[in-house]
Amino acid sequence: MSALTSKLRRDLWRIRAQVFSIAAVMAGGVMTVVALGGTSSSLDSATRDYYISGRFADVFATLTRAPDAVAVRLAAIPGVNSVATRVVKDVRLDVPGLDMPAIGRMVSLPVPGSGGTPLNAVHITSGRTVLPGADKEILVSGRFAEANRLRPGALLTAIINERYVELRIVGIGAAPDYLYEEPGNAFPSDARGFGILWVPHQLAAAATGMRGAFNDVSIGLATGARPSEVIAAVDTLLAPYGGRGAIGRKDQLSDRVVSNELTQMGVMAFAFPAVFVAVAAFLVGSVVSRLIATEREQIAVLKAFGYTSGAVALHYLAYAAAAAAVGIPLGIGIGVWVGQLYTGIYSDVLRIPGLQFHADWVTIGRAIVVIFLAALSGALNAVRKVAMLPPAEALQPPAPARYRALPFDAIGSRLALSTPIRMIIRGLERQPQRALLGAMGVAAALAMMAGALSLYDATDNMIGLQFRVAQRQALSVQLVTTVPASTRSVFASLPGVTNVELARVVPVRLRHMGRSRTVGLTALQRDGKMHRLVDVDGQIHAIPPAGIVLSTKVAGILAIHTGDTLDMDLLERGTTRKVVVTALLDELMSPNAYMDLAAAGSLMGDGDLINGAYLRLDGPPRSELFEQLRAMPLVGGVTSRTAMVEQFDRMMAKSFRISAVVVVIFASIIALGVVYNGARIALSERGRELASLRVLGFTNREVGVMLLGEEAILTIAAIPLGWVLGRAFAAYLTYGFTSENYQVPIVTRTSTYAFATAVVLTASALAGALMYRRSTRLDLVAVLKTRE
């Protein structure tokens, strides 16, 4: 081993606490890349693979009814490669063990032997597929099966054509078009209350009276085909059959959710590592600079003995490399573990077969390179000075620290500040850049934590707005068909029901100046107190007596303003009405359109019809209420607000626990690393000065104040900066969550910021305490005899 290597090894051991603190910050950077990048790429590649193996369609359309022969015409559209027609219908289910009625989305399986590989193929995750000819065997989706503890062999009762039909679950399945199991209509749902049922074609056809016909079509495109052209052709072709407007993958609910998740993770996988990398570079720079300053004479000796500048420079770069060498494997290890936890959460929400965390080595490789470069660039400036230092000059002590009167001094003397306080302030004034970077480091720790935790506040706020302000009904009842408003009395007489409000959701296509958008038009009682129109700020808006209210997103798509008139195609009837836009609503979840229930009835010309009801109860729902609801064939699904909020909270809590622990640990590491190294360097630079003060009769505590005063001021100054940066960070992160369908208002909760502040202060105090202990062991005798 060369002498320089021995020196490196021993010095690294001597300053191991500093090296490790830097390595830990680097580990944080690598960890976030590995965990977020790996989860993202695992999700992406599992989805991609599954889209290919499951033959995920490119274009989707729903319609009222078309004869099977139309499929041949669809297949003839240029650019269309394959066509799969299906029958899709929501049916009422009675699920064993579930007191509420549930909704099953019945999706017909391809007729056996119909040839070709089907689009949106169902992947069996357990059990078996439906046997040919077995018309009461079905497959159910994973989330629904798990939430209701349904296993192959279990029986479900569906109400089909007003008859109770017993269906046997033979397998649990997944399909590329239902990775995300949500009904995608205006009615809320929870995991137990909504599931996908893949059923034999004859069963679905019989249930809907669609023998020889279909109401749903999926289209696979030929390579190079343009989706927009095919969509236009499909719309034209299906228009006479009640086509609701074809959509491409990006508008398909399940794919859209997956893409949103990938975008979010992409944003986070960039933002978090960037913070760590910047802090790591700063720490490396300050520690190596200080090391070089204390070893000036050694450097001179090395050079005098004939070591080249390059060899000496390399020696000091090796300290940075050593920190990276410890931090990188540590980061990879923790990152893989955290990534597995995150991927686990995703697989609860998105049912992607084969979704497993795998470290993305390309991203990791990139992270390693970036961390190494950050470490080296941090050290480079200091090392450059070493390389340029002529040996003779290096043997001389460095020029004494030059202080001069600074602008603050005048204020200082007016304020009659004590001398120690002046010392602290001058120290900061003398190296403003270092002070600023130190403060930025602590602020970054606070910002990262506050920003990341704010995401949960933002989500919580959204849920609060949605379920405590906008939708306050205890139960939402979805009806299988449209009924007169007088049905209200039936619901009002149910046990425990104190109030009933009525609703009607109608699929419509809104058209304006050549643009169009298909939405569910929600018609509500104007005087309703349960389902209300609420904007992003939580303001409640009244439903105007006439005309339509659009979410601002929809208005943007249609390029329409208040007062304009649009064409509204009633997709279930094939007729069109003109309607005036009377208000716009900037809301959390869009796209939506609202009307007054009575106004909608008269516009459609069919009187007061409804297909949903909101119930308010005198307490928790009683079992006889559900019994009676289940006994009503009219009732499709029932969703309990409490169950839905609980389900959401559970999922968020799981993700929050992991994220909070990870972010708190790593933000603490950053704060600890910055303050510890700052104070450690201060002690090294000023050890002699502080020991002199001890000799002069200053107590340990007084000297401790002078040592840690700078760090304390920096930390305190960093806090408001951290709040501001935290809000900006939260804004950047929520930007990743904002899509055509959601907007996430940033929320600044005092409790979150207070918590983040407390964590940073604790970490800083810990670093200060470590350094204070060290300062009490200063050698007072040596100081009398040594020169600087």
Partner: protein
């Protein structure tokens, strides 16, 4: 393996040697008896002080001479409350320094001791005035910093930072800082060690002046024998013992010193 620093061929410390000019002042400020200091590092044992007895009287200026390793700095450190003896006792007025803990020693330094270091040890971020103020702010009955600096002849340099002062000026600031608290004892460790003759003389004159004006018992450590002439009493140390001690009949002024 215990190792004695030097073979013990010198005579026992004798407090009565060369001349005895006038009666000794009545109550000693310091009274050391049987003072022994052993430094252990690993297997190595160094006896820095060996059963040393000594006194220092109020207002007295004592010059402590000796070669490197003779134990003079160790003695000064123990008197100054920076180090503790392995055995023996030191009394400062009616306090027993040997029984004090670190906190009490700090308080002792703060209230009673003024230090002057070979390398000044000024705080670079503070001006001359502020360096003195640093100490007066924590002292019980201090002078004004300006008065202390006037005493050392630096009235016109009070707002300068150490980097703007010459070595001699820095040392005089250090003396002002040491005396501004009106200490009972002033301990100077090689105060001229880093200075040229002319500047050194100026610094010694300042020490002489504050000793006379403030009456603080003063100990000046030096290996420069020429300085001995300015002392009331001169103590020679060899191998951790006092090998010689005598009183000067007349203190000569710093200007008359030469080396």
């Amino acid at each position: 393996m215990p190792t004695s620093a030097v073979s013990s061929n010198t005579a026992q410390p004798a407090a009565t040697a060369r001349s005895d000019a006038g009666p000794p002042p009545p109550a000693p400020v310091f009274l050391a008896r049987g003072l022994t200091k052993i430094y252990r590092s690993g297997d190595l044992e160094v006896r820095a002080l060996r059963e040393l007895d000594m006194e220092l009287y109020a207002g007295e200026l004592l010059v402590l001479l000796g070669a490197s390793g003779s134990g003079k700095s160790t003695l000064l450190n123990i008197l100054g409350g920076l180090d503790t003896a392995t055995s023996g006792t030191v009394r400062f007025e009616d306090h027993d320094l040997t029984s004090m803990n670190q906190r009490e020693l700090t308080q002792y330094r703060r209230d009673h001791v003024g230090f002057v270091f070979q390398f000044y040890n000024l705080i670079p971020s503070l001006t001359a005035r502020e360096n003195v103020a640093l100490v007066t702010e924590i002292a019980r009955d201090p002078m004004k910093p300006d008065d202390a600096l006037a005493l050392v002849g630096l009235s016109d340099r009070m707002d300068h930072f150490p980097a703007q002062l010459s070595g001699g000026e820095q040392q005089r600031v250090a003396i002002a800082r040491a005396v501004a608290k009106r200490p009972d004892v002033l301990l100077c460790d090689e105060p001229t060690g880093a200075l040229d003759v002319e500047t050194g003389r100026l610094v010694l004159r300042t020490i002489d002046l504050v000793n006379r004006q403030l009456g603080a018992a003063t100990v000046v450590i030096t290996h420069n024998v020429s300085i001995a002439g300015m002392a009331d009493r001169v103590v020679h140390m060899t191998s951790g013992r006092i090998s010689d001690s005598y009183r000067n009949a007349h203190r000569i002024s710093a200007e008359e010193l030469s080396w």
